[in-house]
Amino acid sequence: MAEIVIRNLRKEFGAFTAVQGSSFTIGNGEFFMLLGPSGCGKTTTLRMIAGLELPTSGEILMDGEDVSQRPASQRDIAMVFQMFALYPHMNVRRNISYPLVSQGVPRAQVQAKVAEVARILGITDILEKPVGGLSGGDRQRVALGRAIVRNPKAFMMDEPLGALDAEFREHMAEELRALHDRMGATTVYVTHDQLEAMQMGDKIVVMNHGVVEQFGTPQDIYDHPATLFVADFIGSPSMNFLRFQGAVRAGDTSVNLGGVTIAMSEVQQEASPRDLVLGVRPEHVTLSDSGPYRGRILASEYLGTSQIITLDCAHGVVKARAPSGQVVRSGDTVGLSFRAGTLALFDAASGRAFRTAANAAVQHG
C-alpha cells in the first residue's frame, strides 16, 4: 500500500489544458474521491496517476518515489474501468488470473490466489463462465477480482458503478466500501456523483475546469465549501445563494441583508465594498413567523421524512428543508431564520469563501 502525493500536476492536450496545477495528498489506505462534473479533469488526473497518460509537468510520488514518467506496467497499481474492460475472449478465471500470469507467478499459486479472491467476492460458481453473459454486478465483481488479485500498491477506479442501475449501485457501493475496509488499500475513485463521493470517501477532491476547487473530508467540504462552485455542486438541493452588496471587515459577526442583520461566525478577512454572496444550506433555514427576514412561499415538495419549501426572497430564491409535518401554504409570507454557525460568505467575483471562525480550520484547495 502506498501514499500518493500529487504536486503541481498539469496536463495539456494541444491547446486544451485538461488539468492545471493540481496538488493534493492521498494518504496510505485512504478511500479517496476525485469528484467533479464531466470534463473537469478528474479522469485525466486518475489516468496520470495510473500511468495511462503522462503529465505535461508536475510530480506524482508513490511512497516518495517520482513515478510520473513511468509506464503503467511499472507502477504496480490496479484499475477498475467504467465499462469494466473484462477481456471478452477469456472466461472469468482467466480474466482474474491474467495480472498474475504477466508477473510469472507459478500456476499453483495463481490457482490458490484466484480461488481466494473468488471466495471474497462470492463469484466461485461463475469462474468457468465466459464474461459475455454475466450480469452487471457479476462483471463488476470480476473487474474487482482482477484488481485485487495482485495486491497492488493502489487501486484506481474510474466511475466503476456508473454502468450499473440505480438500485444495484447502492448495494455495490456498500460492497466496495466493505472490501476497502477489509483490505485497507489506498484507493483513488473517480465519480461525478456527489452522493457517492460523500457516502464512500474518506477524502474528496472537488475539481472543475481542470482546477482543484477544494480538498478535504466529506464533512468539511459539505459544511464549509471553499468556493461557490463546491457549494453549488455538493448537496441536493444545493446551497442557497443570497446575493447582496457590502464591505467585509475583520471581526464582523453579522452581515446586513437589505436592512436585516443576519448573524454569522466571526469574519477573519477584510474586503472593500463589492458583490457578496451569503450561502446557507436548506437544512439550516427555518421558517418562523417572527423572523425579520421575509419570504413568500412559492411551492413545497414532499419527500417523505422532510419537505423542500421554495421561497421567493428579496435576494433570490431560497429553498428550506423542513419537517414534513409542518403545514405551509403557497402564497403566504413567512419569516426565515438562518443558523449562524453554518453560514458561508463568498466573494461573488472570485467565487472564494471568506475565512471565518467556522471554516478557518478547513484546508482550502
Binding site: L52, A78, F81, A85, Y98
Partner: protein, 313 residues
Amino acid sequence: MSAYSVTEPSRASKSVAAVLVVVYAIITLLPLLWIISTGFKSGPDSISYPPRVLFEPSLEGYVNLFTTRTRIGAEQFAALPPPETWYDKIVRQSGTVIAGQSRFGERFMNSVIIGFGSTALSIFLGTLAAYAFSRFKVPLKDDLLFFILSTRMMPPIAVAIPIYLMYRELGLSDTHLGMILLYTAVNISLAVWLLKGFIDEIPREYEEAALIDGYTRFQAFRKVVLPQAATGIASTAIFCLIFAWNEYAFAVLLTSGKAQTAPPFIPTIIGVGGQDWPAVAAGATLFLLPVMIFTILLRKHLLRGITFGAVRK
C-alpha cells in the same frame, strides 16, 4: 398499396423476396455449375449442340489437365502393352498415350504460395500499420492514410510498364518473391483501411487494462487486441486472397516460367491438342477450391466482417 407493418414484412413481400433471392442465386450459380459439370464431360459431350445437361461422367478432363499426351502410329499403338492404370486407360480411348506430367500442379502450387504468401504479408503489415494509425499519434496521420488509399485510385495495371521495367532491373521478374511483393503492395491499402476500422472499434480500455496488469504495449496488442480483431483479420484476409488468387494481368505480364500462377496457365490448356474444354473446366474447378475452402473456414467471421463492423453484437 395496402397497410404495412414497420417491424414485420408481410407474407406477400416475404415470398417475393424469397423468389427474387432464388432466381438471383440460380443466375449467379449457373455458370459455376456449368463449369463444374463440363469438367466431368467427355470432349464431344462438352461441345455438343444442343448442350447436354445429362451425360455420362468422365474423368478425361482431369486426366488431360494433369498430363501431356502424344499421338503415336497405329502399329505402335497396337503393340503397346495393356494400360496399367485407370488414367492410362482413359487416355488410350482417344488414341493417345501419356507423354508426361503437365505443369498444372506446379502452377497451382505457385498460386498457393503467391496467393497465401501475399495475403499473410498484407495482413501482417496491415495489422501493425492499422494498430498504429488507430492508437498512436502519428504525425500527418490523415495525409498518410489518404496517401495509402490513393494507391487504389487507379487500376493497378496502369502502372504495369514501370513495374515491368523495375522488376526486370531488380531481378524480381518471374519470381515468387516479386509476385508476393506486388500483390502485397496492391492489397496493403485495403488491409490498412479495413483493419483500422475494426481496431478502432475495440475499446482502448482492454489494452489499458492489460497495460496496468503489467503487460507491455506489444504484449497487450498481441494478447488482447489481436484476438478481438480476429473477425476483421479473417474478412480482410479473404478479400486479399481473392484479389491475389484471381489476379491475371500482372501474372501474364511478369511471370512465364518459374513463378507463373494458375490464371495465366489455364487458358493455355486450350491450345494443347484441340479445344480441350473439359480440361479447362477441370482446371477452373480445381482453381476455385482453395478460395472456397478458405472462405468456408472463415465464414462465421466473414458475415460480420462484410458489414464492416457497422452492426454491433
